[in-house]
């Protein structure tokens, strides 16, 4: 699939798609966050250091995607793998199998024996999103602060990190990216500007 129609889809649909109310997962108004300054705070540094220690890992996940025009969420599950903070792999097993590999410069999908790849430079928003995800999993604090306004809230040994994009182009695409972490990342909630929300929950093996 060419980039042409993806960009057409994105730009044109933004023009007429009504902005839906944020899903419940995307509401953080009742939580107080400590906003990070330009340099990472000791709290963020400690959190990222904790995550960094984990290094490479594989963990089962369940993804729940809510789209306002669908009557029910789309649920998928599989194995999530992080490789040295450089590569993320979603090996989806249900409802059908497919593999999505995200690298800094490439997005690869393998499904039904077919392999498709996209150059990230030709997908600006996608690229930034990927960089954001990678920076999160690789605990790259300066990169995260460059892309997002970061707020941290601690509650019952859990940290909730809320990332709000700074870049206007990314803002058109993404509202917030929230990460719940203890010693490891437990949940990621992606709230998109069109009202879609995706919750990825990681469970212990």
């Amino acid at each position: 699939m060419g980039t042409l129609h993806k960009v057409i889809l994105l730009t044109s649909c933004l023009a007429f798609t009504p902005l839906y109310a944020l899903a419940e997962e995307c509401s953080y108004s009742d939580i107080s966050f400590e906003e990070e300054a330009i340099t990472p705070s000791p709290k963020l540094t400690a959190l990222l250091a904790r995550l960094r220690q984990i290094g490479s890992f594989s963990i089962p996940y369940i993804q729940t995607k809510r789209i306002p025009v669908l009557s029910k969420p789309l649920i998928s599950s599989g194995i999530f793998t992080l490789r040295e903070g450089k590569e993320i792999e979603f090996r989806q097993e249900r409802p059908f199998s497919q593999k999505v590999i995200v690298k800094a410069d490439e997005l690869v999908r393998e499904s039904e024996g077919k392999r498709e790849s996209w150059n990230m430079k030709s997908l600006p928003q996608g690229a930034k999103m990927t960089v954001a995800l990678l920076s999160l999993f690789s605990s790259d604090a300066p990169r995260m602060l460059e892309l997002f306004t970061i707020g941290i809230s601690d509650r019952e040994k859990r940290s909730l990190v809320l990332l709000t994009p700074k870049d206007p182009e990314l803002k058109r695409y993404l509202n917030t990216l929230a990460v719940t972490a203890t010693k490891r990342i437990e949940k990621i909630v992606v709230c998109e500007s069109n009202g879609d929300s995706t919750v990825i929950e990681f469970s212990e093996k």
């Binding site: 980039t3 042409l4 889809l9 789209i67 009557s71 497919q98 998109e192 879609d196």
Partner: protein, 747 residues
């Protein structure tokens, strides 16, 4: 009176020289290099005209590829180049993405991709596809569409329209091949020449970015290379021809004056020919110019006549010499002008140009000799020269009945026997040798942009109205399904196809409603889809022509011509054989190469008959003038000249085409005179032999220069003329011997 005319002609020559210099300096002297410009244009039928217009448009298309291992460099250079294309008017600045969306999104139910048409037959596949897309990495893009396009038909339509592997980045189409990113910039040139600014930009790009790979294709590249080669060759042929004439004249007359006046006569003729042809034809073809340049030597013949007479009869005044040769020279000029002038009435632009050029060159040379020579040449050097001694010796061999002329005759007959094995080939591609490196680069570009097919070979489809035309295009596409076809039906379906597409969607929704609901689509979304299926408008040809942001495709739609509608479908090479045999109404397989080759074959056949008629006519005239025996002898060199020239083509491995026939006509018109001079001789055979050797050597030198050309046309003409004229001159004393005997008998 002659003095006044002489002054007028002298003044005209000065004006012509000035005009030539002005034209040369400001670039108004235009030359063609496309071989097809030399060929007759069939423009009687509207189909011919459409094909010709399309071929012309395609010949002005240009594709530039800027390749680099870094995508950003390719995009950066591609963007710069695209801006230049737009500023030069070669392409338009278009919001391609927005225009595609605005045109096709409202018609997402009317225009379906082939993939989607197949998929809709099975409603379970439709729901599976929606699910799959929503689970893909680009799910956000698709989810935004769901409300307006719940079956996600539009993404499938667009992906089917964008050439495979091509992505757009900052409006620059990119393709990745062999680990390199190539920016593809295409446009249409105003004429067949590359704009200087673009040429300069490409040169600077190569210098600025040494790691960039810059390739460009299009007719203009071939034209500019062939044009510069031809210009170089024309100058070599002209110089060589001139040099040959100079040497021969110098050896003959051992004086500078004859040399200068001969150059003046030939130069005046050529000057007149170039200027009048440029004015009359607008553009002079380089091959016609090159062939015309060989007639530089032919134009010198009038000069030789005068000079030879002055040399042989020094006791006469220049005016008396001119008076003595005037009738013969004038008759010769008239027959030459008429002979070449006939070519102007052929349907071949090439022959028209050669005919007019040669006739004018001969006329200009004649005028110069008649008007200016008596004042310029008063007393040439008198005495025996190398050429006259060679001529006298050769003549003595014939008179002594030496074995050498007999052996020459036998050799010529043997050479003629090879002519039995002559083979013909009328393929127009054989008339032009394309530079191999450019052909390879063209093929490489086609491979990179995945563009197959030949723009000179296509299907022309017609219909009584737009709907019938579109339906016929769809029939063609169905008949050739599985092959790569570039036509408008994928982008503009017929009304009936659009109705069928809606029906297919309606059925798929009806049968797969449950599955769509199970994916999560809302009942109201599906109902909205069903309402839109009946209420939305159809895509019309006029809307498409007005709004489609695809200039390449729009060129295929030829619109209404003489009450009928036409469109073109380009077919890939593997499918051509099948496509050319399609027996569908209103579908014509158009092969420009085959068509032109067929025309060439027809003209060769007719030309062959005309040549035989010319030989017969000349033979009858000679029989009448000289009697059967001498007339027959005069014809012997002319006939053997042609047959031996054909034999030479067999030995050289050439296959005979129309141009060989043109050359045979030249051999007949030039070569037959040599024997006639002897038959007409008044006992001055030695002087005649000298004049014949002089004329023949300059002509042969000029035609021999053509053998060095890279143009097959010129090489073909060169071989025939060199062999034919050589045989003509070698055998010409046959008429002298016979006429001498007859004179003796008479006395």
């Amino acid at each position: 009176m002659r003095q006044i005319l002489a002054r007028l002609w002298g003044g005209a020559l000065i004006v012509m020289v000035l005009l030539l210099l002005v034209g040369w300096s400001n670039g108004t002297l235009a030359f063609d290099a496309d071989i097809l410009d030399l060929l007759p244009q069939e423009r009687e039928l509207v189909q011919h005209r459409i094909a010709e217009e399309f071929r012309d448009e395609q010949s002005r298309r240009i594709i530039v590829l800027v390749g680099h291992t870094s995508e950003s460099v390719a995009i950066e250079e591609g963007t710069l180049l695209r801006s230049l294309f737009i500023s030069l008017g070669l392409s338009e600045r278009r919001d391609l993405q927005g225009e595609m969306f605005r045109l096709y999104f409202p018609h997402r139910y009317n225009v379906l991709s082939n993939e989607m048409k197949d998929l809709l037959k099975d409603p379970s596949l439709v729901s599976q596809r929606i699910e799959k897309l929503l689970f893909s990495p680009e799910s956000s893009l698709y989810s935004r569409l769901l409300d307006k396009d719940p079956l996600l038909l539009f993404p499938s339509l667009l992906s089917g329209m964008v050439p495979k592997g091509v992505i757009f980045k900052e409006e620059v189409p990119l393709v990745v091949k062999d680990q390199k990113h190539y920016a593809i910039i295409s446009g249409t040139l105003p004429d067949k020449a590359l704009p200087q600014r673009l040429e300069q930009h490409l040169q600077e790009l190569k210098e600025r970015c040494s790691s960039c790979e810059v390739k460009w294709s299009g007719f203009s590249k071939f034209a500019s290379t062939i044009s510069s080669t031809m210009k170089r060759e024309v100058s070599v042929i002209s110089t060589g021809s001139l040099l040959g004439v100079v040497i021969v004249i110098f050896i003959t007359f051992l004086s500078l004056t004859p040399l200068l006046v001969t150059v003046l006569a030939s130069g005046a003729g050529t000057l007149l020919a170039v200027l009048v042809c440029e004015w009359y034809f607008g553009r002079l073809h380089l091959i016609a110019l090159a062939l015309g340049s060989t007639l530089f030597g032919v134009a010198a013949d009038y000069s030789f006549h005068y000079l030879a007479h002055r040399q042989g009869r020094p006791e006469m005044t220049p005016e008396e010499s001119l008076k003595a040769i005037f009738p013969g020279m004038t008759n010769g000029m008239i027959t030459t002008v008429l002979g070449y002038g006939v070519l102007c009435f052929t349907p071949f632009p090439f022959l028209q140009q050669v005919g007019l050029f040669s006739a004018l060159a001969a006329f200009g040379g004649y005028l110069t000799v008649v008007l200016l020579y008596p004042s310029l040449v008063s007393s040439p050097r008198v005495g025996s020269t190398l050429i006259s001694r060679v001529g006298a010796y050769y003549l003595s061999l014939w008179r002594r009945k030496s074995y050498i002329p007999t052996a020459a005759l036998i050799l010529v007959v043997l050479l003629s026997l090879f002519g039995v094995g002559v083979r013909t080939n009328d393929d127009v591609r054989g008339l032009q040798s394309l530079p191999l490196d450019l052909v390879a680069e063209e093929q490489e570009i086609r491979r990179i942009v995945s563009r197959e097919g030949d723009a000179g070979r296509f299907l022309l489809v017609e219909g009584s109205d737009e709907e019938e035309l579109l339906q016929r295009l769809e029939s063609v596409e169905n008949a050739l399904r599985g092959f790569a076809i570039e036509g408008v039906s994928k982008y503009l379906p017929s009304r009936s196809q659009q109705e069928r597409n809606r029906e297919v969607i309606r059925e798929a929704v009806e049968r797969g409603r449950g599955r769509l609901l199970s994916v999560g689509l809302l009942e109201e979304t599906i109902e909205k889809l069903e309402r839109e299926l009946t209420s939305s408008s159809y895509l019309t040809p006029s809307e498409w022509v007005e709004s489609a942001p695809l200039p390449d495709l729009k060129q295929l739609w030829r619109g209404k011509r003489e009450g009928r509608f036409y469109s073109i479908a380009l077919v890939s090479d593997p499918a051509w054989q099948m496509a050319s045999q399609l027996a569908l109404p209103g579908v014509y397989a158009w092969d420009t190469t085959a068509q032109i080759s067929g025309t060439l074959r027809d003209f060769r056949t007719h030309g062959g008959v005309a040549l035989l008629l010319a030989y017969s006519g000349i033979a009858i005239a000679f029989f009448y003038r000289f009697g059967v025996k001498l007339g027959g002898l005069v014809m012997v060199p002319a006939i053997l000249a042609s047959t031996s020239a054909l034999g030479a083509t067999v030995i050289a491995g050439q296959e005979v085409n129309l141009m060989h026939l043109v050359a045979l006509m030249l051999v007949l018109s030039i070569g037959v005179d040599y024997a006639v001079y002897f038959a007409e001789g008044r006992g001055d055979d030695e002087e005649t032999m000298t004049a014949v050797l002089l004329s023949a050597s300059t002509a042969i030198i000029a035609f021999a220069m053509l053998l060095c050309s890279s143009s097959p046309i010129l090489r073909n003409v060169g071989l025939i003329c060199v062999v034919g004229l050589s045989v003509s001159v070698i055998l010409s004393p046959i008429a002298c011997v016979r006429s001498g005997e007859m004179k003796n008998l008479e006395s």
